[in-house]
């Protein structure tokens, strides 16, 4: 009886929803890029808020614009996933505080101007002169720069808040979906935020940062990875202590079809190995290598991919 109810209430029924596995490559790509941008915003703005007097490298100054580009790529993937593409404006006709999707739509709208102002305020004097020399840009840019400079700390703080919101919501979006036991855990929001911080840090480490920035980013990356490992452990424990459907979700990652991808790509290659490399690198003052960041980025993408695919296969259907 319970099983039949579930089939009706969660619509896990091929006769009602003809497609039970509806999300393809677009959603993991979006979730990955969204998390990465969240990490970039938090770390970039956080560094300046914590150390306002330090000079910043070119890479860190250009970071907000990179974040905008990456987020646009993610949004494009998201747009490609929409079945009714022309209906996208409807997200912005309402705000439902109980819906993470609604929160996400508005957060995304907030990120664009904030990241843009963050970036504009980071331009060097030389870059500003070059841009202001263009007559077409000057009337618009001059007041914008003045405002971005005056409200710099407010912009940076909003940037951190927008980043936190973006990172959290990508996980909460899945976590609130009761129909999928694999996703229906409150851990997913903080987990995706921690992973976003770590991938954002890894992305920054691919570029030439100065020594203090590098230290700052690596320190935060190590912390984010440790938190992510803890949260992954909590997620698995939560599944183990849950009902049969949750235990089946655990089986997906512990013996089931996504075991090797989860443990090899996400946990081992995506977290433990780069963590060890960063710790050893810090202790021995080894020169910067691209391998650890590349592994973190691949691992962050694998985390979303595995959870997306395994989540779509998890349901209450097997438990009548």
């Amino acid at each position: 009886m319970t099983g039949n109810l579930e089939v009706v209430t969660t619509r896990h029924n091929a006769a009602i929803d003809p497609v039970l596995s509806a999300w393809g490559w677009e959603i993991p790509v979006y979730l990955f890029l969204g998390g990465l941008v969240a990490g970039l915003l938090i770390l970039g703005a956080g560094y300046e808020l914590l150390h306002p007097d330090r000079p910043r490298s070119r890479a860190l100054r250009a970071m907000p614009f990179a974040a905008l580009g990456l987020l646009s790529l993610g949004m494009l993937a998201l747009f490609l996933d929409l079945a009714h593409k022309l209906h996208v404006y409807r997200f912005y006709l309402a705000f439902r505080w109980t819906s993470p999707m609604s929160w996400g739509s508005w957060i995304l709208l907030l990120v664009y101007p904030v990241a843009f102002l963050h970036g504009v305020g980071s331009l060097t004097a030389g870059q500003r002169e070059t841009l202001l020399a263009r007559r077409a840009l000057a009337p618009l840019l001059r007041p914008l720069l003045r405002w971005a400079d005056r409200a710099r700390r407010a912009v940076l703080k909003t940037s951190v808040v927008a980043g936190l919101g973006l990172g959290l919501y990508t996980g909460l979006l899945l976590g609130t979906l009761a129909a999928r036991p694999q996703w229906n855990t409150a851990v997913l929001g903080p987990l995706f935020l921690a992973s976003g911080l770590s991938t954002g840090a890894a992305f920054l480490l691919l570029f030439r940062l100065d020594e203090r920035e590098h230290d700052f980013v690596v320190r935060w990356d190590v912390g984010a990875i440790l938190v992510e490992l803890l949260l992954l452990g909590a997620m698995l424990l939560g599944f183990a202590a849950g009902d049969r459907s949750a235990q089946h979700a655990l089986y997906h990652l512990m013996g089931g079809p996504w075991t090797s991808a989860f443990w090899s790509l996400v946990v081992f290659a995506g977290l433990l190995v780069p963590l060890a490399m960063e710790l050893i690198g810090r202790r021995r003052r080894l020169p910067l290598a691209a391998l650890a960041p590349a592994l973190i980025l691949a691992g962050g993408f694998a985390l979303r991919w595995v959870l997306l695919v395994a989540g779509q296969a998890s349901s209450f259907r097997e438990f009548p």
């Binding site: 006769a15 079809p257 290598a289 391998l291």
Partner: protein
């Protein structure tokens, strides 16, 4: 504990992939720490300036050889279950030569190229790209070399069988050869290093310990000869295990390389209709004498028109596990080759099985798609939608 673990089902496929990842990282780590991520170190081998490639690689080979010899001799390892690639003499000679040329030109072999790419060396990354491009080109040109690729086929050829000597003796011989080559390589190193004004590269103390270890392991391997029973008077009856049609069909789809499927019916009946992927008995060997000589690297699955009550003689002499299809071809035809009937009443288990059988039926009969799943009983109305449900941001 009996080895090898994976073929003996000590752990599943997924765990084997995790184990592979861990071993792969360990392998890469050791290669990197040995200096194999740098082309000058590898290339120095060819100038005799630094022969550590020979020492590490041959050292690894000898370690594995002596280790497996001792384990097999002690009855802890079943050699027949280790996967040994089949020998195709001419293409492998040509391929080996090509690999050597690539090794000298790039300074890397495929494994060390990956390590070098991981260390951030661009030449390593380019070598990996070259390996991939070469593999792709080979795929494109495969029709022209397909015949050559299969020439000189020797099946699974192992030196102890070819030379007729016990494995332990051969292993001791290879170990002695390795020690000789290590000493020779060091002599060359000294000679060439002196010419370049360098000094000796190795401290003698650890080297001597390694040699002692190799000697002891070789003796251990030879000692297992005493444990081996003199030639078995009568081969033990092979373990015949039944396999049902559904499991066989899944195995053929999921891991076709794990079984060798043989149709032992009359060649004419087999030619007319058989399980896709099965081999028929050749017309000039209707008794199937070749079955005894098949390499035991895969499980042998046999089937007749109905269930086989006794194994054909040659199959009984097969070295590996032999399975018999329960119910024979008739059962497989009913279970898989015939379109499945929708279950009634519809339970989750019945539906899952129906879906599986439908997919297998479609796969084995070449049907375009499995029949649509049945609608569960009840008032739920089917509301057709677009091809894909979107949403989410």
């Amino acid at each position: 504990m009996i080895f090898p673990l994976y073929p003996l089902d000590a752990f599943g496929y997924e765990a084997s992939l995790v184990a592979g990842t861990l071993l792969g990282f360990a392998f890469g780590f050791v290669l990197e720490r040995s200096g194999f991520g740098r082309a000058p170190v590898l290339a120095a081998q060819f100038y005799f300036a630094d022969t550590r490639v020979l020492k590490v690689m041959f050292g690894a080979i000898v370690t594995a050889l002596l280790g497996t010899t001792i384990l097999a001799g002690a009855g802890v390892l079943d050699y027949s279950l280790l996967t040994v690639p089949e020998t195709f003499l001419w293409p492998q000679l040509a391929g080996g030569l090509l690999l050597g040329v690539g090794f000298i030109v790039s300074g890397y072999c495929p494994g060390t190229a990956v390590v070098a790419a991981g260390s951030g060396n661009l030449d390593g990354a380019m070598t990996v790209a070259g390996v991939m491009a070469g593999s792709l080109l080979y795929g494109f040109f495969h029709p022209w070399v397909a015949e050559f690729e299969m020439s000189g086929a020797m099946g699974v050829a192992r030196l102890p069988d070819l030379l007729g000597v016990p494995q332990a003796l051969l292993a001791a011989g290879v170990a002695a050869m390795a020690v000789g080559m290590f000493l020779g390589a060091e002599a060359l190193e000294k000679l060439f290093a002196r010419r370049r004004g360098g000094g000796p590269l190795l401290a003698p103390v650890p080297r001597n310990w390694v040699f002692i270890g190799i000697a002891l392991a070789s003796l251990g391997g030879l000692g297992t000869l005493a444990l081996e029973p003199p030639a078995p008077a009568a081969a033990p009856a092979p373990r015949v295990v039944r396999i049902d049609s559904l499991t066989l069909a899944r195995t053929l789809v999921e891991s076709p390389d794990s079984v060798r499927l043989v149709d032992v019916r009359e060649p004419a009946a087999c030619e007319a209709k058989r399980i896709p992927g099965a081999m028929c008995l050749p017309a000039d060997d209707p008794g199937g004498s070749f079955l005894a000589d098949l390499p035991p690297t895969r499980r042998l699955v046999l089937y007749g028109a109905a269930e086989l009550r006794a194994l054909p003689g040659p199959a009984a002499r097969f070295g590996g596990p032999v399975l018999v299809l329960a119910g024979g071809f008739a059962a497989f035809e009913t279970a898989i080759l015939t379109a499945p009937v929708a279950p009634s009443p519809v339970t989750p288990e019945a539906l899952a099985r129906f879906r599986l059988v439908s997919a297998l039926h479609a796969k084995f009969t070449g049907a375009a798609a499995a029949p649509p799943p049945p609608a569960p009983a009840g008032p739920a109305r089917v509301q057709p939608r677009g091809p894909k449900k979107g949403g989410g941001c």
